[in-house]
């Protein structure tokens, strides 16, 4: 029994870290992996999703519907931004970093001015269960399921729908896709919106577990970037396995030495990985496939 609770505890922590990494990096991975744009306003899309979720949930909507509202709101804002700013910067990756950074500053401070330094959140649903002498929040299990479901959903979307085929074609050979009659500008807009929506979804899913402050996006951003860097350009071959590996590192280091060492471990992992495989995991996997 002792052994069982220990194993459960470790698995639980691993699942928790895995879910956090996958959910928080999915949107980033779509925007970066498919479009090659580094979106430093990613954390702010997450914040937006969390705020809308909390607001609609307290207005009386059921939590899953509220989370959906959060994701949709972030997606809508993302598409507007793509139309007004990002569209002009696709051929200038460095400048797109700066522009999204500027947007992130405006968003954080704007929310601080409009809504104040903090916002009333929603409580964690589902309660907790006890095993051994510790208790575990059931909602964390839901998050793990959501992470797995998210990966499955994205896989279906990109590999088994018409939109997915067109989107991948557009991103790989824009000129060719345009020649074949694809409205590439629309596809770029939709893909960016999808990434922003996924960020909003992350915010919505984690809204019940966090304090709602305008800078809450910053807690996600480092780890999601680390995951994307380790993973490389492909979401399925890269980001998902990267999240699993990083989750093991983070969970074990956090369990043994505390939060800080978990973070430092992630950083060291990223530097080592880039040192030995610059293209990230997905490049290695692809080479190996051939």
């Amino acid at each position: 029994m002792e052994l069982f609770t220990a194993i459960f505890s470790i698995t639980y922590q691993f699942g928790d870290a895995f879910a956090f990494l996958v959910i928080s990096c999915a949107g980033l991975a779509v925007i970066f992996g498919m479009m090659g744009v580094i979106n430093l306003a990613h954390g702010e899309f997450i914040m937006c999703g969390a705020y809308v979720t909390a607001a609609t949930a307290r207005a009386g909507l059921a939590l899953p519907v509220a989370i959906l509202c959060g994701a949709l709101a972030a997606a809508a804002i993302g598409m507007v931004l793509e139309r007004t700013v990002m569209r002009h910067l696709y051929h200038r990756p460095m400048d797109s970093i700066i522009a999204t950074w500027g947007i992130s500053l405006i968003a954080t401070q704007g929310v601080l001015i409009l809504l104040g330094p903090t916002m009333q959140g929603v409580g964690t649903p589902l309660g907790s269960m006890a095993l051994g002498d510790r208790s575990y929040s059931l909602y964390r299990l839901v998050l793990f399921a959501a992470a797995v479901g998210l990966l499955g959903g994205l896989y279906l979307l990109f590999y088994h729908t018409r939109f997915g085929v067109i989107a991948r074609a557009t991103i790989q050979r824009p000129a060719m896709a345009r020649a074949l009659g694809v409205d590439t500008r629309r596809i770029y807009g939709l893909t960016f919106g999808l990434g922003a929506g996924l960020a909003g979804l992350a915010g919505g899913l984690y809204a019940p577990t966090m304090t709602m402050v305008p800078t809450m996006g910053a807690t996600f951003i480092v780890e999601s970037f680390v995951t994307v860097v380790v993973g490389g350009a492909d979401i399925f071959l890269g980001a998902a396995p990267a999240a699993a590996i990083l989750a093991i590192i983070k969970a074990s280091l956090t369990a043994w030495y505390g939060q800080l060492f978990g973070q430092i471990g992630l950083l060291v992992a990223v530097i080592v990985v880039i040192r030995i495989m610059p293209g990230g995991l997905s490049a290695v996997v692809k080479r190996w496939q051939r």
């Binding site: 700066i98 522009a99 950074w101 500027g102 405006i106 954080t108 430092i264 530097i271 610059p278």
Partner: protein, 335 residues
């Protein structure tokens, strides 16, 4: 740039104007101006790394913070007698530079390129911030210096110059302003020489086409690492001076918002030329300072908007574009 009588005439005029400025102003404004000068080193360092070498570093505040803390720890331990604060300054700048070389080694020898440099440096900064924030307990002390976690360190001595009639303590004010001005001029001229020398040409070549530069037989990794180390040392100089100026440093000086600041200055000022970077940074910092005084909470919004505007309208930087336009107008008039 940096050669010929026109450059030197302009240079002398600017330095003279800066030198007589305290005579027409009160001590408080001069202290403020000194504060702007403290930051210019970090901006110039980023100008070298990003503008000349093409590696966008989000991590300049990591070296800033590291050197700032190092200055605090060293001065608290060795005191300020005999002008030892300058030794502390040199040591902390060296530490900042060495740390930058280390990070640079891993990045450039690991062939990290483009946007990934930004991500790695940003992560370094944020991890360092997290680390310093949790050093609140009494076990986190180096010698007699407590690190104090989130509250930051305070009470370190300002720079002192040993003098015959007792030490001159450089509190914020006219004396410090002159010392900083001299340092800015020295660093600027040094960078100007370095960037006009073959070293600078190689950096620009790497920015324009790394593969071709490598084919010509240059070890671009070495040059990038050295440039990054130089940028880190300059950021460290800003950090140590900042700590000496305010006798205060906190982990938040490495946080996300702080990390954004140097990028805003350099992006808005113009990164392709160290002169534009310097002038632009001073202008943006000064403008920003007055914004924080008159409309504190909107300052960051304006800054973000300024960034987006710069990127969309004048990608080379506002000051650099202005300089080019003026140069073209005067160039026509001279002909």
């Amino acid at each position: 740039m940096g050669r010929g009588p026109a450059f030197w005439a302009a240079m002398v005029a600017v330095v003279l104007a800066a030198a007589v400025y305290p005579l027409f102003s009160n001590d408080y404004t001069v202290g403020n101006a000194a504060y702007f000068l403290v930051w210019t080193f970090m901006a110039m360092g980023l100008g070298v790394v990003w503008g000349y070498c093409g590696a966008l570093s989000f991590g300049q505040t990591a070296f800033f913070g590291l050197a700032g803390y190092a200055y605090g720890v060293i001065t608290i331990n060795i005191g300020s007698a005999y002008g030892l604060t300058w030794l502390a300054l040199i040591l902390s700048v060296g530490l900042g530079g060495a740390f930058a070389l280390l990070i640079g080694y891993f990045m450039f020898y690991g062939r990290i390129k483009g946007v990934f440099i930004g991500i790695v440096t940003l992560s370094v900064t944020l991890v360092l911030e997290t680390f310093m924030s949790q050093t609140a307990g009494p076990q986190w002390a180096i010698g007699t210096a407590r690190l104090n976690g989130f509250n930051g360190m305070s009470g370190m001595p300002p720079l002192t110059v040993p003098w015959f009639s007792g030490d001159v303590v450089l509190y914020s004010g006219t004396a410090l302003y002159y010392v900083l001005l001299a340092m800015v001029v020295a660093v600027y001229l040094g960078l100007r020489m370095l960037l006009n020398a073959p070293f600078g040409n190689v950096l620009v070549a790497i920015r324009e086409n790394p593969e071709r530069t490598e084919m010509l037989g240059y070890d671009i990794r070495l040059y990038q690492m050295l440039a990054f180390g130089l940028g880190g040392a300059l950021a460290g100089l800003s950090g140590a001076l900042y700590t000496a100026w305010g006798q205060y440093i906190t982990p938040s000086s490495m946080g996300l918002t702080s990390a954004a600041l140097p990028i805003v200055w350099v992006a808005v000022g113009g990164r392709r030329d160290i002169t534009a970077t310097l002038l632009g940074s001073v202008l943006v910092i000064a403008g920003f300072q007055s914004l924080t005084i008159y409309g504190s909470q909107y300052a960051l919004v304006v800054m973000g908007a300024l960034l987006v505007f710069t990127v969309m309208v004048t990608p080379d930087g506002v000051v650099a574009t202005l300089m080019q336009r003026l140069g073209r107008i005067f160039g026509k008039a001279a002909r």
